[in-house]
């Protein structure tokens, strides 16, 4: 049973969102996602400054058996990326919600955050998929 913190929001594509409350969010992938992917060997993060639309593929995670796109949950501008993941991609496996954060966005339209799933809704998505 994967870990799904209550204080975060989620997408159907298995990203989590932490709303910083100051117009920015932090994005990563869920415990379920890292478990399904297996040991991550490489992460390609977006460039700081890049403008993304909700649903844009903006990062890629590579494990030994798969390569998966990571989609931006909302529209905005990439403000920061977790450079530590370049040398230690396995951090995402060990600590997906904290040390494994991937990028931060300045949100263009705060109302898009309302469309995200809460922990319970996300858990239903996971249950339905399995």
């Amino acid at each position: 049973m994967s870990n799904t913190p209550d204080d975060l929001k989620y997408t159907k594509e298995h990203e989590w969102v932490r709303d910083k409350g100051d117009g920015t969010i932090t994005v990563g992938i869920t415990d379920h996602a890292q478990d399904a992917l297996g040991d991550l060997v490489f992460i390609e993060l977006p460039e700081v400054g890049r403008q993304v639309d909700a649903g844009d593929a903006c990062a890629v995670v590579e494990s030994v058996k798969a390569a998966s796109d990571i989609y931006s949950p909302v529209s905005g501008e990439v403000t920061e990326i977790n450079e530590a993941l370049v040398d230690a991609p396995e951090t995402v496996n060990d600590d997906p919600y904290d040390g494994g954060w991937m990028f931060k966005l300045r949100v263009a339209d705060a109302s898009q955050l309302d469309g995200l799933l809460d922990a319970t809704a996300y858990e239903s998505v996971v249950a339905e998929e399995s």
């Binding site: 390609e44 590579e62 494990s63 058996k65 798969a66």
Partner: protein
Amino acid sequence: MPFIPHTQEDLAAMLAVMGVERIDDLFGEIPPDLLVDGLPAIPPALSEMEIGRLMQERSRQDGQPLCFIGAGAYEHHIPAAVWQIATRGEFYSAYTPYQAEASQGTLQVLYEFQSMMTALTGLDVSNASLYDGASALAEAVLMAVRANRKCKSRRVLVPRALHPAYRRTLRTIVHNQGIELVEIPFDRSGGHTAPEQIEAFAGGEFAALVINQPNFFGVLEEIDALTDWAHQRSALVIGVVNPVALALLSPPGVWGQTGADIACGEAQPLGMPLASGGPYAGFLCCKQALVRQLPGRIAGRTLDLEGNPGFTLTLQAREQHIRRSKATSNICTNQGLLVTAATIHMALLGAEGLERVAKACHANTKKLGGMLCEVPGIEPLFDRPVFHEKALRLPAPAADLLRSVAAHNILGGFDLGSDYPELDPAVLVCATEMRTDEDITTYAQELARVVETRSRTPYPVRPKI
């Protein structure tokens, strides 16, 4: 892995487990109207004896002319041991090494090939080969456009002094990918792509510059100046290089201040016969930072579960079977047999042997050029140093002269007229280590005789205008 045949009993047992009566039942989901019943357009079979006779007759039509043509494929001596070893069953019939535990021999050969190519090019990584030099260049261009983070342009500068077939292939492959190829003219007196002139032709931002060393005319380019210029413009540098020449010339990895980013080319000169144009093998190498953008197979060395060293295909998340449409390329193969021959060839020659071959080619072409230019009306087209090919201006139509010497069993060179009308009449000649002094003298004397006869023979009167 040995060949393990099965008996009728084995077949029956397997079918029984699957719950089918005949093998044909396994194809039951193919709609009947799509099934082909025989191959009616194929003529009836000949017996082995008849075919053997037919092929012998055909092979008698093959000549064994004296070859002075280079132009991208070169006749080099291949030690007999190369194909003796490469045709061993273990190498010759080995399949794709996807199952690492059953393919250690194949994977080790690929790893050795990759190691040798990185040593030759002075770069960090090599793949396990591509189809040929031309498609390797196309892959290099696609890779450079993908990988260039500093410049989003999809324009790539390509010298006109690059092999015409490479330019055509490149256009075919990248055409529908939205990549614009910008042709850079060559200098008419030097035959090179002049660094002082290139800025004017660049026309704005570009993702990559292709540098061909030596270029199609055999001329040596200013690789350092061109590399630095491109890097200053935030572009990547792709070197298209001859592997034999690399035994003597500065390798792409040390061009300019920081080295070329990608190097590619044709591996045919390493142990592969001319064979009417193929099969050959392309090579592609790059700096470590670009390794995840490298297409094709890569063999890697690693430790197994028990800590023993072994080899495996690696970084497979670049490839189609994982990335599908986002893979670095549609290629999912390599030229395993040719690469095996190339690796054995390089191992037998060694670095010193390869250098001797290169020096002999250079010396022989110099001799050839010198002797041919003693013929009235024949002179060098370009004044810059060359590796092992030389472009010569002719006093008469190239096709006529080449046909005349062909009648004496000499392939005189590559007619430059159709690809470079501005140089017509002209020919590109090459003398590898296989051409003896006698061969070269024979050609020079024959050509001199042909030219002289033409100048004597009365022609229809031409107007003096």
